[in-house]
C-alpha cells in the first residue's frame, strides 16, 4: 500500500497522538503494510449503503489505494464486478480457503423475525441465504468481524421502536448463536471514512507485527465498553465543542442559523455523544453537524430512540 508515513499521520493526527497510543503508528509498523494484504468480505444487511458510500470518501489513503493495495475485497454487493450465484458462491469458496484469516465487514442490522426472511442476500442452487444465516456462517470462520455503522454495531434505525422485523446488532446475533470471533464496532450514521479505514489499518498493522492471535488481542485492547476503538470514540463531543464556553455562559441559539451560540436548546446531542467529529470534521474537513446544525448522537448505542426527538434538548 502506498500509504506514506505522512499520509498515515495525517489520518490519525489529533486522535491517536492525543490518546497516548502513538506508538501504534510508528514507521516500522506502517512499513509492514506492504506485506500483509487480508481478504475482506463486506455484507450488507438492513442498511442504506451509506457506510459504503462514506468509505468511498476516504482521502488519506484514497479509496482506490485501499481497494487496489491494502486489502483484497472479495465481496462487496455495491462495487464488485461479479453478480448472482457466481458472486455469492465465490464469497463462500474464498471464505473456506481463507478460514480463520479473513476480515468480515458488516454494514446494516440483522433482522431475525420470520427466520430472517426480511433480508435475503442471494441464492445458490435455488436456496435463499438470509442475512441472518449468512452472517453466522461467514462470522464463524472470520479472524475479525468489523461492524461499520450504527445498524450493524447496535441495531440502529432498523431496530428502533416500532420495527416489526426484530432487527438486532451483529454482536447480539453472534452472541446468541455462540460465535466467538472478536468484534469491533465502528458506529456512526454513517461512520467517518477515517474511522473505518483507520481501524482496518490498525488491525492490519497489529496482525502483521504480532501475528494473528496476538495482533487481534492488541486491537481488542483498544476498544471501549461499547466495542468502539478509543482513538476515534474516546472523547465527548460536548466537552470538546467550540461552543462550550457559550454553553457555560448560558448563551443558547434560538434558530439554527444563529452561529454565535451553543446549539443545546436546538436539540444538540453532543453531551451524550463520544467521537472526534469536533476535531476531524467531515468531507475533507469542510463542515460537521454541530457547526452546521445539531449533533444527533448517531455514534451511540441509543441512536435513534434515546436521541429522539432530535430537535428537543436532551
Amino acid at each position: 500500500m502506498s500509504l506514506t508515513r505522512r499520509d498515515f499521520v495525517k489520518l490519525c493526527t489529533g486522535t491517536v497522538a492525543g490518546f497516548g497510543i502513538s506508538q501504534m503508528f510508528n514507521p516500522e509498523i506502517v512499513h509492514a503494510l506492504k506485506k500483509f494484504v487480508p481478504n475482506c468480505f463486506w455484507l450488507q444487511g438492513q442498511g442504506c449503503t451509506g457506510c459504503s458510500v462514506s468509505i468511498l470518501n476516504s482521502v488519506h489513503p484514497s479509496i482506490a489505494e485501499v481497494l487496489l493495495e491494502a486489502i483484497n475485497l472479495d465481496f462487496h454487493p455495491t462495487i464488485m464486478g461479479c453478480e448472482g450465484e457466481q458472486a455469492f458462491s465465490y464469497m463462500f469458496d474464498q471464505a473456506k480457503e481463507q478460514a480463520g484469516k479473513y476480515v468480515l465487514i458488516i454494514e446494516g442490522a440483522v433482522p431475525v423475525a420470520e427466520d430472517g426472511h426480511f433480508c435475503v442476500l442471494g441464492e445458490i442452487e435455488h436456496k435463499d441465504y438470509t442475512m441472518l444465516e449468512t452472517t453466522i456462517k461467514m462470522a464463524k470462520d472470520a479472524a475479525l468481524v468489523v461492524n461499520v455503522g450504527t445498524c450493524s454495531a447496535y441495531g440502529g434505525i432498523p431496530a428502533a421502536k416500532g420495527n416489526l422485523t426484530e432487527s438486532k446488532s451483529v454482536g447480539q446475533v453472534l452472541a446468541e448463536n455462540g460465535v466467538k470471533t472478536p468484534v469491533v464496532n465502528i458506529p456512526g450514521c454513517p461512520p467517518h471514512p477515517d474511522w473505518m479505514v483507520g481501524t482496518l489499518v490498525v488491525a492490519i498493522n497489529a496482525i502483521e507485527q504480532h501475528g494473528l492471535e496476538k495482533g487481534l488481542a492488541e486491537v481488542v485492547k483498544l476498544l471501549d465498553d461499547e466495542g468502539r476503538p478509543v482513538p476515534f470514540y474516546g472523547k465527548n463531543i460536548h466537552d470538546n465543542c467550540p461552543y462550550l464556553d457559550q454553553f457555560d455562559q448560558d448563551n443558547y441559539a434560538d434558530v439554527f442559523t444563529d452561529k454565535s451560540k451553543c446549539r443545546y436548546e436546538l436539540g444538540c446531542k453532543g453531551p451524550l455523544s463520544n467521537s472526534d467529529c469536533f476535531k476531524r470534521k467531515w468531507n475533507g474537513g469542510v463542515n460537521w453537524c454541530v457547526e452546521n446544525s445539531v449533533c444527533l448522537g448517531c455514534v451511540e448505542p441509543g441512536f435513534p430512540d434515546e436521541m429522539s426527538p432530535f430537535y428537543e434538548p436532551c
Binding site: 442504506c48 449503503t49 451509506g50 457506510c51 459504503s52 458510500v53 462514506s54 468511498l56 484514497s62 479509496i63 482506490a64 487496489l68 483484497n72 475485497l73 454487493p77 464488485m80 464486478g81 461479479c82 453478480e83 448472482g84 450465484e85 457466481q86 458472486a87 455469492f88 420470520e114 426480511f118 433480508c119 435475503v120 442471494g122 441464492e123 442452487e125 435455488h126 434505525i157 432498523p158 428502533a160 416500532g162 420495527n163 416489526l164 422485523t165 450514521c189 454513517p190 434558530v255 439554527f256 442559523t257 467531515w282 468531507n283 469542510v286 463542515n287 460537521w288 453537524c289 452546521n292 446544525s293 444527533l296 448517531c298 435513534p304 429522539s308 426527538p309 432530535f310 430537535y311 428537543e312
Partner: protein, 483 residues
C-alpha cells in the same frame, strides 16, 4: 446465477441474485426462450419498515430518519421529507433557503449520476483491474472496448472516485456532512452561506463541471458508439413520469426539471391524486392494496401466497410508469448538450437537437445512460449559471416552524434515480401515518393487481440472452435504471 429448466420445453429460467452494483437487495428471474427473455420477475429482498418506525415520533425527526433509507440519495429523502413538513407546518421557505437547498441537492445530483455511471454501471462495458472486487466476472462478459479506450476508462473510474468525493464536499459545505445531511430542515436550511464558503463551493464546482462536460458526457456517447445494439435493448412501456425538481421561484411553481406524465404516447399534466399502490404480488397484507399514499398502509406478510417481492406496485392512473433521468429528460425535452449533438452526428450519423429527437433510441440501456449524463450537464449548468449567482451571502435561509396539532403534508421531488413522494399525517402533534414511495419502487416493482409487470420487468422482455451462462444484458438493463 442459477438456471432451471422450465416445464415447457426450450425455455430456461435464469435467476440473478444478488443483482450487484445497485443500492439495496434485488433478485431478477427471467424466462429465456430462443435466446430472448420472454418473461421476468423482480424481487426486492429487504423490508425495514420505516413507515412503522416513524409512527408516534416528533414529525421533524422524519427528515433525519428517512434520509437513512438511502446512503446514495439521502438529500433526496431530506428534500421530500422537508417539503412534506413545510406543507404540513404551512411554512414558506425564504428565497435564500430555496436556493441553498438547490445548491445542496444539485451537488448530490452530480455525485449520484457520476457514481452511478462510473462505479455502478461502467463495469458492464469496461474491463476493470484483474483483482477483486473487479474479478471474477462471467466467463464472456461481452466487453468490447479496445485496449486503449479501456485503459482510459479505468483511469476515469479512479478519477471519478475523486470527483464524486468533491461533490460530497460541496453538499457538506451547506449540508453539514455526507452521507446524511444535517443542514436541511423543515423551514429551510440551517446555515446561511458566507462569501468564504460560497467561494470554496464554487472552486470545487468548477472541477466537477469540467469533468461532467469534458469527460463524463463524451465518454457516455463514446461507449454507446461501441455498444450501438444496446440502443435497441430495454425499451419497456415507454411511459414516463416526473414530479418536478429544483424550484426556480419562491412559489415553487416552476422547476428546472419540470413535472409531467407521458403515457401511451401522450403528454399529460401530472396529478398526484392518480397515484396508487397495489400489493397482490407483494409480501404485504391485502388491506394495503389500491390505496393513495394518504390512505397508505404498510403491513408486511412474509409468507403470502403468490407474492414475490417486498416492493409494492406503484401505479399512476393504473399504469406502470418509468421514473428517473430518462423519464425526466423525455418529459422536459431539453436541448441536448453541444457535445452530445456533436457526437450523435459524428459517431452515430444522427442530427439531433432536442432529447426527444433520439426517438425510441432513448428507451434503452444506452439511452438511459445518455439521459443521465445530459441531465448532469443541465444540473451543473444551473448550479453555475443560476443558483451560484442567485444565492445571497448573509441572507436568511431558515424560517422558524411550529408543529401543528393535526395536519397533513405531501412532499414531492425527484431523487437522482426518479420520482420520490413522502406523505405525513400528524395527529396530537406526532406522526400518525408516514408513507414513502421512493423511485426504486416505481421502477423495480412486481406485477400489480391487474397483472401488469413493473417497468423494469417489462423492459427486460425481449432482452437478448444468446448465451445463458452469460446473461450480461439482463443486469445491464436493470442497472441502466439505477434501481
Amino acid at each position: 446465477m442459477s438456471q432451471a429448466s422450465d416445464a415447457t420445453k426450450g425455455k430456461l429460467k435464469i435467476a440473478i441474485d444478488p443483482v450487484t452494483r445497485i443500492e439495496g437487495h434485488l433478485k431478477a428471474e427471467v424466462l429465456v426462450e430462443g435466446g430472448k427473455v420472454v418473461d421476468a420477475w423482480l424481487s426486492g429482498g429487504m423490508y425495514r419498515g420505516f413507515e412503522n418506525i416513524l409512527v408516534g415520533r416528533d414529525p421533524r425527526d422524519a427528515a433525519q430518519l428517512t434520509q437513512r433509507l438511502c446512503g446514495v440519495c439521502p438529500t433526496a429523502h431530506s428534500t421530500a421529507s422537508c417539503r412534506a413538513l413545510d406543507d404540513a407546518f404551512e411554512v414558506k421557505v425564504t428565497t435564500n433557503g430555496r436556493v441553498t437547498r438547490n445548491l445542496i441537492f444539485g451537488a448530490n445530483y452530480l455525485q449520484s449520476h457520476i457514481l452511478h455511471f462510473y462505479h455502478l454501471a461502467a463495469l458492464d462495458f469496461v474491463r476493470g483491474p484483474s483483482k477483486a472486487p473487479f474479478v471474477p466476472r462471467f466467463p464472456h462478459p461481452d466487453l468490447r472496448l479496445d485496449e486503449k479506450t479501456n485503459a482510459a476508462a479505468v483511469d476515469q473510474y479512479v478519477k471519478a472516485l475523486e470527483i464524486r468525493r468533491i461533490c460530497h464536499e460541496m453538499v457538506a459545505m451547506f449540508g453539514g456532512k455526507m452521507p446524511h445531511i444535517s443542514g436541511q430542515v423543515a423551514g429551510g436550511t440551517t446555515e446561511i452561506p458566507t462569501e468564504e464558503k460560497l467561494k470554496e463551493y464554487a472552486s470545487r464546482f468548477k472541477v466537477v463541471q469540467k469533468f461532467v462536460s469534458e469527460v463524463y458526457v463524451p465518454t457516455v456517447y463514446l461507449i454507446g458508439s461501441v455498444y450501438k445494439d444496446l440502443f435497441d435493448v430495454g425499451r419497456g412501456y415507454k411511459n414516463c413520469m416526473a414530479y418536478g425538481v429544483f424550484p426556480l421561484d419562491d412559489e415553487e411553481s416552476e422547476f428546472l426539471l419540470k413535472s409531467g406524465v407521458y403515457i401511451d404516447g401522450k403528454d399529460e399534466k401530472f396529478d398526484s391524486d392518480l397515484i396508487r399502490e397495489y400489493v397482490k404480488y407483494s409480501w404485504f397484507d391485502e388491506s394495503c392494496t389500491d390505496l393513495h399514499p394518504s390512505k397508505g398502509k404498510t403491513i408486511p406478510q412474509v409468507h403470502k401466497d403468490g407474492a414475490y417481492s417486498f416492493v409494492k406496485s406503484s401505479r399512476y392512473n393504473k399504469k406502470p410508469v418509468e421514473v428517473g433521468p430518462l423519464a425526466r429528460m423525455w418529459v422536459q425535452n431539453p436541448d441536448l448538450s453541444p457535445m452530445g449533438r456533436k457526437q450523435l452526428k459524428e459517431l452515430f450519423g444522427i442530427e439531433a437537437t432536442k432529447f426527444r429527437d433520439l426517438g425510441d433510441m432513448a428507451f434503452s440501456i444506452m439511452g438511459r445512460h445518455i439521459a443521465r449524463a445530459e441531465e448532469a450537464y443541465i444540473v451543473a449548468n444551473a448550479i453555475g449559471d443560476i443558483w451560484l449567482k442567485e444565492v445571497k451571502p448573509g441572507e436568511e435561509t431558515y424560517v422558524k416552524t411550529n408543529i401543528p396539532v393535526s395536519a397533513e403534508g405531501l412532499g414531492l421531488t425527484e431523487a437522482p434515480r426518479g420520482s420520490l413522494l413522502h406523505y405525513i399525517n400528524i395527529k396530537n402533534s406526532v406522526t400518525a401515518n408516514y408513507q414513502l414511495m421512493p423511485a426504486t419502487l416505481w421502477n423495480t416493482n412486481p406485477r400489480d393487481d391487474m397483472g401488469q409487470r413493473g417497468p423494469v420487468e417489462q423492459a427486460l422482455i425481449g432482452c437478448p440472452v444468446p448465451d445463458e451462462s452469460n446473461p450480461v444484458n439482463v443486469s445491464r438493463i436493470i442497472r441502466s435504471f439505477d434501481p
